[in-house]
Structures are given as structure tokens and as C-alpha cells.
Subunit: 145 residues, 2 copies
């Protein structure tokens, strides 16, 4: 297992243990994690802290060059908001744990030149399947439905 | 002047007075402001709190129906991240103060059925022109350049 996807999964599991939505993300530059995070809708009552957004927030104010050279790992295919953040900061490559339980804006990202690799990871799929079965209303709120 | 755009401009001016980037936003539902905010890159060292994102965060966890019926006002044409948040939450209409100093993802929004009205407001243009002239590096950081 890629250690960076493993770190994103650990973030997702941390979120789940907190009673939250099990989606995690890390941003990697030059072989090191510069930001990591998980969805904080429940924990902070946040409308904007999806896993990827939390990773950006924790990476913080980086020079444009750093973000442009970075790779973002996320356990779940990124929604429109998180895909927009990826485009804003010029991330060129993302690694997605799975897109079976939710298909995000992968087509938009690819159309703008972002490389999107999908791992179809069983752990990521299992986390989301269980969560959606357990708390469908919370999940729908998170994806705006 | 539309009182809601006036409120967004007041948010932008508040941000400027704090030493920050002068962009403000309000989200309106059923004739009332349910969330208001301004860019907090400088104030909180935030990579994700653009004006519109801060307004979403302050509106908080609303039912999908509320966001879908809401109108978002922003002093500046929304970047990819903020446009993505607008799409995530199914906002159907946005009012933009100006798009002369920065053209955001208006085409993407319109292609997804969002009504985008641009006011070409002189106060909004003046705030950004002065800010970009004063702090070009900070501005470039905020838009990922």
C-alpha cells in the first residue's frame, strides 16, 4: 500500500472514530506530507471542511510553486468544491481511493489537465459503504443533496 | 444599491480594515442573510477561507433545500474553489460585484445552470484595483499564481 494513501485512510478512520464522515486526505510535496485532514462537518459543524479542504487548510499558505508541484491523495473522489480547490491551487496530480460510492468531478479535473488515478481501494469503499448505510441523511447533507 | 450587495461590500471593507484581502460575500435565503463573510487568508493564515467560503462556513450546516433556494452575493467573480462550493450546494443564482479585476469560473457556473448576474460595481472595482496595486504578491497567492 502506498504510504500516502495509507495516511489518508488513517485520517478517514480518525474522522469516523470522532463520529464524523470517514473521508481523509493528504497533500504531498517533495516526498513529504505538508498537509493532512479529514471531513469535519460533524466535529466542527463545518459546511466547507471536507477532507481535502481540511488538508489544504492544514497545509496553509504555501507558495504557488509548492502547490503546483504537490500531489493530493483522497480516500474518495472529490466533489465540486474540493475539485475547485485543486484547480485553484494548480495541483497537477491526484490519487483517489475510490469512486464507486460517489463519483466526483473527475471529468472536469481531467479536462483541465489534472492527472486523476483511481485505486479502487477496498478499505476506502468499505468505509464509505458502511457509513452511507449507517447515516444516509448525514451523507446527503455533505454532498448537498 | 441592493442592500445585500451593500452588505457584501461592508464585509470586504471589514477585511481590508483588518489588513486582509477586500472580498466579501453574503448568502441570502427567504429575504434574510443566513451567512456572511470575508476573505481571511491574512487574518487566519487560511488557504480556504475566501469570502464566499467564509460565508458558507458562517451559514453552516443548512438543509440542502435552503442552500438550493439561496442567492449568493460576492464582491468579486468567484474562483474555481468558490464556484465549486456554489455547485456543491446547488446555489441557483449568484450576484457578482465585478469581474474586471479577476474573471472567475462564470462560464462553468452558467454551463451548470447557475444564473450569474454581474453588476460592474464601481466600489467593488475600486477596492480590488487599489488592493492589487498595493499588494500584488498577496493577491497572486490568493488566486494560486
Amino acid at each position: 500500500m502506498d504510504p500516502f494513501m495509507q495516511a489518508a485512510i488513517e485520517e478517514a478512520q480518525k474522522g469516523l472514530a470522532e463520529g464524523g464522515i470517514p473521508i481523509g486526505s493528504v497533500i504531498v510535496h517533495d516526498g513529504k506530507i505538508i498537509g493532512r485532514g479529514h471531513n469535519r462537518r460533524v466535529q466542527e459543524g463545518s459546511a466547507i471542511k471536507h477532507g481535502e479542504m481540511d488538508a489544504f487548510e492544514n497545509a496553509g499558505r504555501q507558495p504557488a510553486k509548492v502547490y503546483r508541484e504537490a500531489t493530493l491523495y483522497t480516500t474518495l473522489s472529490p466533489c465540486a468544491m474540493c475539485s475547485g480547490a485543486i484547480l485553484l491551487y494548480g495541483i497537477r496530480k491526484i490519487i483517489v481511493g475510490e469512486n464507486q460510492t460517489f463519483m466526483g468531478e473527475e471529468d472536469l479535473l481531467r479536462s483541465r489537465g489534472v492527472q486523476v488515478d483511481v485505486l479502487h481501494n477496498a478499505t476506502c469503499i468499505g468505509l464509505m459503504k458502511q457509513f452511507i448505510a449507517d447515516k444516509p441523511e448525514l451523507w446527503n447533507e455533505d454532498i448537498g443533496e
